[in-house]
Symmetry: C2
Subunit: 205 residues, 2 copies
């Protein structure tokens, strides 16, 4: 018989709780999940949220699709199965940071409802705040910062979200932004107005 | 052609640096890697290090074999390949926390030199501090807190470290402790004396 899961004893009672970490940091953890097409502006938004929160003394961690894929998920490709495992691992890592009291800013295309549902389930619905950067497809394609849309149009990339792979919009996002209608700065300001009351430290909580 | 790694653009320049996080936290990040046999006392030591550091205002994160295996690594077993992937993922997660300025306390049997070498390479040698809890095998077996040695002796668990799977001691650990020769409290005190100077905030660094 192989050693199996029945022999794993999670030992949470000995390590410090999320509440103790939040008391130390004087903040409340949340996962801000910024999603949208390539070129929608989500990476810039995530970086600006982090910068603004940092300047206010909040400890944050950006988890970014590209950065995660160069480390933890460097053994995953872009098949459906690997994309699901990609999001699962990211959600588990986000949860570790959340349990440590941090504000996590996830920044992922995360095109499917199913994958985001999985992330929400792992992280917990009260801590999972979806921000949908709903910039029109044609605007994203015309920006084409990384030249990926061109490559996808030329057939050099398959399964590219928005071209030959669907983006399923969230049903009830925490917030929705269109960066062709408002500046990134205004978008970030709107996000902060909704986020700050949730992360501000309340000692009696 | 599938989308491949050449299309991944790590975007570290926009997100905050480790130094900025360390300045916020007023501490320097390190990975304290506590290793040893099942029953050696490493989990208790890890939990006590965290508690002591927390009381001094340091932000820490315990990464524990069992806890990680119930989340991020819940799709891994105990084959050689899965054990290596287990340590690789843990090291990548530790690195994410390290880049956020935290003090990570890893607590893993991590029996092979090869796996620990991989972890050191991912984390970076200057930040990877091995603490070898070198409690004699017979003491660990006699404690048998989880009843695992008994099951291994009865052949109900295979590849159990110390019985039918080797433990390869570290060549030059940062520290070595034998919990049959000193109390856990004294061991933790010795560890703190060596760790504190490394994590104390030096603003000019």
């Amino acid at each position: 018989m192989m050693r199996d899961k029945e022999n794993i004893f999670p030992d949470y009672e000995n390590i410090l709780s999320r509440k103790e970490k939040e008391n130390l940091l004087k903040q409340h953890g949340k996962v801000i999940w910024v999603m949208g097409l390539s070129g929608s502006g989500k990476s810039t938004i995530a970086a600006m949220i982090e910068k603004e929160l940092h300047e206010r003394g909040y400890l944050t961690q950006v988890l970014d699709g590209d950065n995660i894929r160069s480390g933890l998920n460097n053994n995953l490709g872009f098949s459906q199965e690997d994309r699901e495992e990609n999001i699962r691992r990211i959600a588990e890592v986000a949860k570790l940071f959340l349990n440590c009291g941090l504000i996590i800013i996830g920044c992922f295309i995360s095109p499917t409802l199913k994958a985001r549902e999985k992330a929400r389930k792992i992280i917990g619905k009260d801590d999972f705040l979806e921000i949908y950067v709903n910039t029109p497809f044609l605007v994203c394609e015309s920006r084409d910062v990384k030249g990926l849309y061109k490559m996808a149009r030329e057939g050099k990339i398959n399964n590219f979200t928005g071209i030959d792979s669907p983006f399923e919009p969230p049903v009830e996002p925490f917030m929705e932004l269109d960066t062709s209608q408002c500046s990134i700065e205004d978008g970030v300001k709107q996000i902060l107005e909704k986020i700050l009351p949730l992360i501000e430290y309340k000692s009696e909580k």
